[in-house]
């Protein structure tokens, strides 16, 4: 396994009860790469993303982040389940942004950003607030630090959510349809923040329907359907000349 690989998935399977959602996903994401995952709803793309930080447990295959198996340790040729505290330690290194933002409604924007750095990383309140202020400025919300989520628009909430994830200094960022719940005119601001982040060298896995974003900043595009990857390659190439029939069908509907 090369040092260069941030996420490595090998034959990842996941079932909910009898329904098999992931039917063998092989994917490698290199450090600094932006991988966009496209596909119809129900294709398993969000589930795969949630497996990467162990919000979902995989049933078969291997999945590692930065050379470390997710949720397991391997000792003497056998897998041992990680303790909750060990899994939490792994998740600290992986930021996640949700479709529904999931900001903590009882805290201001700044408090949302500072909670985990203070309580989990052990930062002092002053240091956390300083860093939180910088991050909120970076996402263009320097004037909304003391607003509660209910006082912010969807786009602003999602940018706070991105700042909250970045406050843990993650080495990998996961985006689960970050713009799907937003009004069309608010999508641009969020995508701009994500583009800046991509250009700064952050490793990102983005489940999205934003074809333009994939074309502009994606290094790799993955098209998923029915629990498998059906096509993968350079986004400009795949979007212009899709080879797989299902990719063609999907793109003809969304483009």
């Amino acid at each position: 396994m090369s040092d260069d690989v941030m996420v490595l998935a090998e034959a990842v399977h996941k079932s909910f009860g009898r329904t098999e959602v992931l039917k063998g996903i092989d994917l490698s994401v290199r450090r600094g790469q932006v991988v966009c995952i496209l596909g119809p709803s129900g294709s398993g793309k969000s589930t795969f993303l949630r497996c990467i930080n162990h919000l979902e447990k995989i049933n078969a295959g291997r999945l590692s982040v930065d050379g470390q198996l997710v949720g397991y340790t391997e000792r003497g040729g056998r897998l041992h389940e990680c303790k909750d505290s060990e899994i939490a330690a792994q998740r600290r290194e992986i930021g996640m942004v949700f479709q529904q933002f999931n900001l903590f409604p009882h805290m201001t924007a700044l408090e949302n950003v500072c909670l985990a750095p203070i309580k989990v990383r052990g930062l002092s309140g002053a240091d956390a607030r300083k860093r939180g202020g910088e991050l909120l400025t970076q996402v263009g919300l320097s004037d909304r630090m003391d607003s509660y989520p209910s006082q912010l628009s969807g786009g602003q909430q999602q940018r706070v959510a991105i700042a909250r994830a970045l406050a843990m200094d993650p080495k990998l960022m996961l985006f689960d349809e970050p713009t799907s719940a937003l009004d069309p005119e608010l999508v641009g601001d969020v995508l701009d923040v994500m583009k800046d982040l991509a250009r700064s060298g952050m490793t990102m896995v983005v489940v999205t329907h934003e074809i333009g974003f994939a074309r502009e900043v994606g290094d790799d595009l993955v098209f998923m359907d029915d629990g498998v990857i059906v096509e993968q390659g350079d986004p400009r190439e795949v979007l212009a000349n899709p080879r797989n029939e299902r990719t063609k069908q999907f793109l003809s509907k969304v483009l």
Partner: protein, 324 residues
């Protein structure tokens, strides 16, 4: 353009306010008249019926036994609610734990104490002193284990006389607190379940532990659902402390009954107790309103706040709305 220029001008500025004839509501006036008559009859009865002995009620309203009883009632209410809330949170978190043993224990606890009447619990705790003379704290089964190995073991750390420990006050406090914990567990559980899964998920994704997620993210939000029924529980508890009279222990109701039977003014004594409970409950209602407001921080104030909205007249009813 000439003929309708006047109306266009009006349309450009503010249009004239509507002056319509309002709908008549004769039913409201009839209802008001009927109720006014009934209220007048009731007040007349209160004043003219000599059995009330208003002067007796007034003279006894602030006598030492009454004040001592009221103080005990307040202490019992606060104490039993503290015990109840703490037990309730523990039981609710246990109930939702993935550990089956913990969730079963929590279920059995809530089942037992919700199934047994408080009055029975109060009387039983009052007489529980007959079960044990002393309460000893030490290693479990120390004597039995010692006998097994032929040793004379005594690991007793602390011995308390049961009759001292379960004095009337403690017996009442435990009976009400344990019972309350079972009800609070259900309220807290409902509150925790009302918080969306996404919240715990976001906290988990940030690397926060289960306990931290519960304390900092889920419970503070659950409070919005927990606080209103808890306010009702406090008011219900204030009234249920009267059951402690049967432990027996001298709280407000006990002392008023004593006054009544000593002076043969039984009914006026009950009216005195009624006035005290009425006054104390009313104070709690006002406190409940402000506490609810505090816990709705970051949300718009709706529903539960409306009942006492007059306290907040003239202030905006929302903490803040979306402004973009």
């Amino acid at each position: 353009m000439t003929s309708d220029s006047a109306s266009t001008d009006v349309a450009k500025g503010a249009p004239e306010a509507i002056k319509a004839i309002p709908v008549r509501h004769p039913g409201r006036w009839v209802a008001m008249a009927v109720i006014a008559v009934l209220v007048a009859m009731f007040v007349h009865m209160l004043i003219t019926n000599p059995q009330f002995h208003w002067s007796f009620i007034w003279d006894n309203l602030f006598t030492p036994p009454v004040l001592a009883g009221a103080r005990t009632t307040i202490l019992l209410t606060v104490g039993a609610m503290v015990v109840g809330v703490v037990l309730g949170i523990i039981a609710a978190v246990m109930r939702l734990s993935p550990n089956r043993v913990l969730s079963t224990v929590a279920f059995l606890y809530t089942w037992f104490f919700r199934a047994v009447p408080r009055l029975l619990l109060c009387v039983m705790f009052g007489t529980a002193g007959i079960l044990y003379q002393h309460l000893t704290l030490g290693f479990p089964f120390d004597k039995q284990l010692g006998d097994l190995f032929g040793l004379n073991v005594d690991s007793t750390i602390l011995t308390v006389d049961m009759n001292t420990l379960l004095s009337g006050f403690m017996a009442g406090l435990l009976a009400l607190g344990l019972s309350e914990g079972a009800y609070m567990a259900e309220i807290v559980r409902a509150g925790i379940l009302s918080v969306g899964d996404g919240q715990a998920e976001a906290a988990t994704a940030l690397g926060m532990s289960r306990g931290l997620t519960m304390r900092r993210v889920v419970l503070p939000q659950a409070m919005r659902v927990i606080v209103p029924p808890t306010g009702n529980e406090v008011i219900a508890m204030l009234k249920d402390t009267s059951l402690v009279a049967y432990v027996p222990y001298a709280e407000l109701f006990f002392n008023y009954e004593a006054i009544g039977s000593r002076t043969f003014q039984i009914f006026p004594a009950l009216i005195g107790a009624l006035l005290w409970y009425l006054a104390m409950s009313s104070v709690l209602l006002v406190i409940q309103y402000f506490v609810e407001k505090r816990f709705s921080r970051g949300r718009t104030v709706t529903g539960t706040g409306i009942r006492l909205a007059f306290l907040n007249r003239g202030k905006p009813s929302t903490v803040g709305g979306a402004d973009v």
